[in-house]
Assembly symmetry: C2
Homo-oligomer: 281 residues x 2
């Protein structure tokens, strides 16, 4: 019988926990988890065997997945570097990739073991209690390699994600950050700004709360996400988010000018075009 | 056995059709529908008895519900005025109330039979094929009376909505328009603008489509609504929508200025406040 392949998940929250549940179904896998906080380790232990220490979690693991926010990836990488086994693959799952790649190239030999990843999977509710074995199923996972990484290592990373049902897509970290700035980071900021404005009005009149329908609920659902994670994302991808926001804000200025009588044709075309694009999502 | 109460639904689409399905369950009700287009009448006939003519649909009805867009309510009101029975109650279900009330007071004796209503119920998909007997269940229905309407007539309108499971809320038409401008019309416009921007980017690079997650889907779901209905809404509530949009756009300008390094504390507070308000929706 071949030795089991050890996979370490550092940070067993929603993403790490879901990964644990998906990997549990695979044969020949020895799964171990670690959280830096004792209270989080206790929660994690419901779904994964928690190691006795951080060092023991990492030691001898062929695959290590860092499930932390973008801000913490590089410090964690430096921390595990002396501990990792020869030939090991280290990945992360954080939302911003440009800054991670830029800093990782300065970590010794990082291109021989570290492959930055970003699965387009999540929920509003964080924590291992909300983990779901099917979270990654049919979801895109962006893989944004360091400049010198071998195709062999990238292939291993791609295979890892395929095994949990995801679809790996290789791309540059800046192209990634530009795309998610528009499809994820900007919408989050816009939904939060909407909720912010609504909160001020609702405090003045109870009518606003009554005027909330299911559409408003859908529109603002993403604003329920973790403030700490979103602070990190905004800090680390501020350049691309600012470009997107600025484009969007200028578009709103154009629309504002059209909000007067007799522009029916314009609005019909605008909504029709949007509807057509939305249908194809 | 008492005579059946005749209820006429003029415009059997999603809202009218759902009303029909909900009313069907009630005893002592004679339900009849009408659509102006022959093709729509054919669809409607699957869920409601369709009258032989518009006149026959309205004749003798104690309750008439006009399920048309805001723009068509007053023309329809003028059209049915000579036909309606003594003591009849006429309601609409359209999304903008200020303009409807303002114009209705000029229709002879309108305050004795017409009660403007707006149920906070809907779906992205229109048409009677998507009708749902439970669409109004536990949903707010705003009732915005004409200045001289009797409480007796308003009471009848309120009771009508309670019987299909809805929660009637009486308010002024301008307060209504202000509230829905923020909670419904502005979000629709913002989601459509987001989709519009996304569409332009996606046409340039296939990466944008891959970067679409469930959050983007939720955020833009409302943009799938009927362009004709939304054109009417924007035209008829342009003043209040413009006020909301302008407030929102100014807020975005403030946020844009904060998109630089070292503003982590600001963003944490911003997202935390938004999350707290979102939780209480």
């Amino acid at each position: 019988m071949p030795a089991k392949q050890k996979i370490a998940i550092i940070g067993v929250g929603l993403l790490g926990g879901s990964l644990a549940l998906a990997l549990k179904k695979q044969k020949g896998v020895e799964l171990v988890g670690w959280n830096h906080r004792a209270s989080s380790r206790k929660k994690a232990s419901k779904i994964i065997r928690v190691a006795e220490s951080f060092e023991k979690a990492v030691a001898g693991a062929q695959t290590i997945v860092l499930c932390a926010h973008s801000n913490s990836i590089i410090p964690e990488l430096r921390q595990i570097r002396p501990l990792i086994a020869q030939g090991a693959l280290v990945m992360d799952v954080s939302s911003v990739k440009g800054a991670v790649v830029q800093q990782a190239v300065r970590v010794p030999r990082a291109s021989t073991y570290f492959v930055p990843c970003h699965p387009m999977a999540g929920k509003e509710r964080s924590g291992p209690d909300n983990a779901d074995a099917d979270l990654y199923r049919k979801k895109i996972v962006f893989i944004t390699p360091l400049p010198k990484t071998s195709w062999k290592l990238l292939g291993k990373a791609g295979l890892f994600w395929k095994k949990v049902g995801a679809i790996p897509v290789f791309t540059g970290s800046l192209a990634h950050d530009k795309a998610v700035a528009m499809t994820s980071h900007l919408p989050h900021l816009l939904a939060s700004a909407m909720i912010d404005l609504y909160g001020r009005q609702e405090a003045k009149s109870p009518l606003f709360k009554k005027a909330v329908g299911s559409g408003f609920g859908d529109f603002t659902r993403i604003a329920a996400g973790s403030p700490a994670m979103w602070r990190d994302i905004v800090e680390m991808n501020s350049v691309e988010i600012k470009k997107s926001l600025s484009q969007y804000r200028r578009r709103l200025e154009e629309l504002e000018a059209k909000l007067e009588k007799g522009k029916g044709r314009f609005w019909y075309d605008f909504f029709e075009r949007a509807r057509a694009v939305r249908e194809k999502l």
